[in-house]
Structure formats: structure tokens, C-alpha cells
């Protein structure tokens, strides 16, 4: 099932509210509003035509504002969360996206729908700083406890030191 077919099927099922089709050449996706995203993902998992029983990944991106040569806004600043779903039964893959504002990057957790989402959401929180409401244990997963900031954000400031260890690039060579 292609993404366009999935969009048509969602319309038939009456679940297409708040869903848009992003018809990319290679990266077609369903773009869902923040309020509807969990209901749509639940439908994609449970409804027979989709049967997306496997969550491949959850990830996030942070994008800055982009304008073309004439100064027209091409891309708004903000966050985006991406879910890749796979149906073992139908041998199909589906991408779902959700755009989030810079000021409040919060979205519903799907850790209760797919257990695999638990660690993926923790990683997305750790590196991009997207908060998943309803997550059972939203802690950092890769970086140590007490780390400041989220490294994959565009405005991330590199740490000068961590727990007494100098992390600066141009620190003086230590004298023995």
C-alpha cells in the first residue's frame, strides 16, 4: 500500500480529519496534526487494511527557517516527529509526520501502542528534546544524567565541561 492509497483508505474509514498527504517523490508521508496523531496511529495499527503491527522508528528533526532567493518563506522553523510503520502482513511501509512549534515541542506518546516506542521516544527526547506526554519513564537514554541541552537542536551550545572534565576544543595541553 502506497502512502496515497493509505490516505484514501483513511478517508474511507472516516479518520482523515487533521491528516494531510505530503506527496514527496521518495519521502511521501502522512502529515497529521498534534491533536489527532495518536488516534490516527492507533487506527493504522488496528484497522485491517493497514495492520501496521511493527514500529520501525520514532525520530525527530529540528529545522530552522528557510527562505529562497526572493525572500519567500520556504520552510517554517520548528520540530517534526516522524514515525515509520511497517506492516508485516501487507509488506508495506508508511511514514507519519507531525509538525510541532518551536516553543512547545510536545506530542502524545505511543509507548502503550508499540512497546518499541519506549526507547525510541527516550532517544528523541535525549537528542532533540521533544517531550512525549504519557511516556512511562521519559529519561535520557544515551547521554549521562545531568547533561544540559539537546545536542541535535540547531541552537545547541557545546558544553565547556562535564563533572570536572574539560570538554573544550582548544583547551591548553595538560601539564604532567
Amino acid at each position: 500500500m502506497t502512502v496515497a492509497e493509505a490516505f484514501e483508505q483513511l478517508k474511507k474509514d472516516g479518520q482523515a480529519a487533521g491528516v494531510e498527504l505530503f506527496p514527496g517523490p521518495k519521502d511521501a508521508a502522512l502529515v497529521v496534526t498534534r491533536e489527532r496523531v495518536k488516534a490516527v496511529l492507533r487506527h493504522l495499527r488496528d484497522a485491517r487494511p493497514f495492520a501496521c503491527d511493527l514500529l520501525v522508528l520514532v525520530t525527530g528533526t529540528h529545522m530552522t527557517e528557510k527562505k529562497d532567493a526572493k525572500g519567500v518563506l520556504v520552510r517554517e522553523a520548528g520540530f517534526e516527529v516522524i514515525w515509520h510503520l511497517r506492516s508485516v502482513q501487507h509488506r508495506s511501509i508508511l511514514a507519519v509526520k507531525c509538525k510541532l512549534p518551536t516553543a512547545d515541542p510536545t506530542v502524545d506518546s505511543v509507548a502503550d501502542l508499540w512497546p518499541a516506542a519506549n526507547w525510541h521516544e527516550r532517544e528523541t527526547w535525549d537528542l532533540v528534546g521533544i517531550r512525549f506526554t504519557g511516556h512511562p519513564d521519559l529519561r535520557r537514554i544515551l547521554l549521562p544524567e545531568g547533561w544540559e541541552g539537546h545536542p541535535l537542536r540547531k541552537d545547541y551550545a557545546y558544553p565547556k565541561e562535564f563533572h570536572g572534565i574539560n570538554l573544550e576544543v582548544d583547551a591548553p595541553w595538560p601539564t604532567p
Partner: protein, 208 residues
């Protein structure tokens, strides 16, 4: 040497005792079984039959820091890992030595500029005796590092209370490309490529 550490007069007898102790120490450097990243694969190769670090008495990899003399830090150390490495170093009994193996531990390596969580050189939290550059270093380079360390140990004062001696690093390098990193006065005698030149090249360079 505990109680007598560098407290006896610097005479012939104590110097002779130092020589014996240093010979023992430098001939039985037991490294810790401890690999962090890809450099550890080369470290394992050094321990295996082809290169066989046991020829230099440094092949007995110990599974605990309590029995180890040498910590070969083989791999990228990040901020989360640095405390574990520091703790392992603290658990080793004296005398203890550290080899920074590979570009990451020497100075951050490929993560020097944009690795936000990588410690740019383990010098920043443990004292390092030998730096072995490379990404990862060839097994010959690690053996060379061990031999540099052996010369350093031979120059230590154990019982005698004298001025520190300068280690003699001449004639230990086995890979011509890395000669002279520690001692710029060592001159490479032959760097020409090719099997004939390589086999004809003397074991390292002679002191200029």
C-alpha cells in the same frame, strides 16, 4: 617499593637494585582487559599469535584492575565513560602506566571539533605515559608503544634518591613511519617504500 620509595642514598648498590626492580617491572607489564571501541580490535591482534605482545612480557591481559600494571585505553572516551575509566585507573595498584591508544584518546581524533560528548584526549583526567597515534594504530605501533614504555620504566628511580634519569629511546622503533615522535633527535635512516627497501631497513634509526 612502599616504605623505601626513593629514600635511600644514590649509590652504586641502590642503583643496581633499581636496575633489577625496573628490569622486572618492564619485563612483565600486565595490561588490563579493557577495550572501548574499534582500537580494541587491534589491541586483541597484538595479544594474538601473529604479533604476540607476550614476547615483550606484556601479553598477560588481566581481567581486573587490581592485577594490572598497564591500562591501554583503546577507543573513544566520551563524557559518560570518562568516570568509569578514571575509576579503573584509581583501582590499579602502583606502579601503574597508561597508554593512550588511537587518535581519539590522544586528542579527540575525528570527534575533536564536533563531538559534543567526546573527551578530547584522556590527558584531561588521567596521566598518560605513552601516546600511540593512529586510527587505529597498527599492531606494530602498539608494540612500539610498549617498548617506549619499557625504556621509560628502566629510567625510573625506585630506591635511590637521585635526579630523574632521561629515558633512552634509541633503536626501539620497528615502524619507520612513526620514528621520532617522542624524540626528535632520532633520525630515520630509510623511508623508501618497497619490499626490498623495507627488509633492508635497519631496525629503527640510529641516534643522529
Amino acid at each position: 617499593m612502599g616504605l623505601f620509595e626513593r629514600s635511600l642514598p644514590d649509590v652504586y648498590l641502590t642503583r643496581l637494585a633499581d636496575l633489577a626492580v625496573n628490569w622486572g617491572r618492564s619485563s612483565s607489564i600486565w595490561p588490563m582487559t579493557f577495550g572501548i571501541a574499534c582500537c580494541a580490535i587491534e589491541m586483541m591482534a597484538v595479544g594474538a599469535a601473529t604479533f604476540d605482545m607476550d614476547r615483550f612480557g606484556a601479553g598477560a591481559f588481566r581481567a581486573t584492575p587490581r592485577q594490572a600494571d598497564l591500562m591501554i585505553v583503546a577507543g573513544t572516551v566520551n563524557a559518560k565513560m570518562a568516570h568509569v575509566v578514571k575509576r579503573l585507573y584509581d583501582q590499579m595498584p602502583e606502579p601503574k602506566y597508561v597508554m593512550a591508544m588511537g587518535a581519539c584518546t590522544v586528542g579527540g581524533g575525528p570527534y575533536w571539533k564536533h563531538g559534543y560528548n567526546v573527551v578530547k584526549g584522556i590527558d584531561r583526567f588521567v596521566p598518560v605515559d605513552v601516546h600511540v597515534p593512529g586510527c587505529p594504530p597498527r599492531p606494530e605501533a602498539i608494540i612500539e608503544g610498549v617498548r617506549f614504555l619499557q625504556r621509560k620504566i628502566m629510567a625510573k628511580r625506585v630506591l635511590a634518591d637521585g635526579a630523574p634519569q632521561k629515558p633512552d629511546f634509541t633503536g626501539i622503533s620497528i615502524s619507520p613511519g612513526t620514528v621520532g615522535i617522542l624524540d626528535p633527535t632520532i633520525k630515520v635512516t630509510s623511508t623508501t617504500a618497497g619490499p626490498a627497501a623495507a627488509s633492508a631497513a635497519p631496525l629503527a634509526g640510529a641516534k643522529a
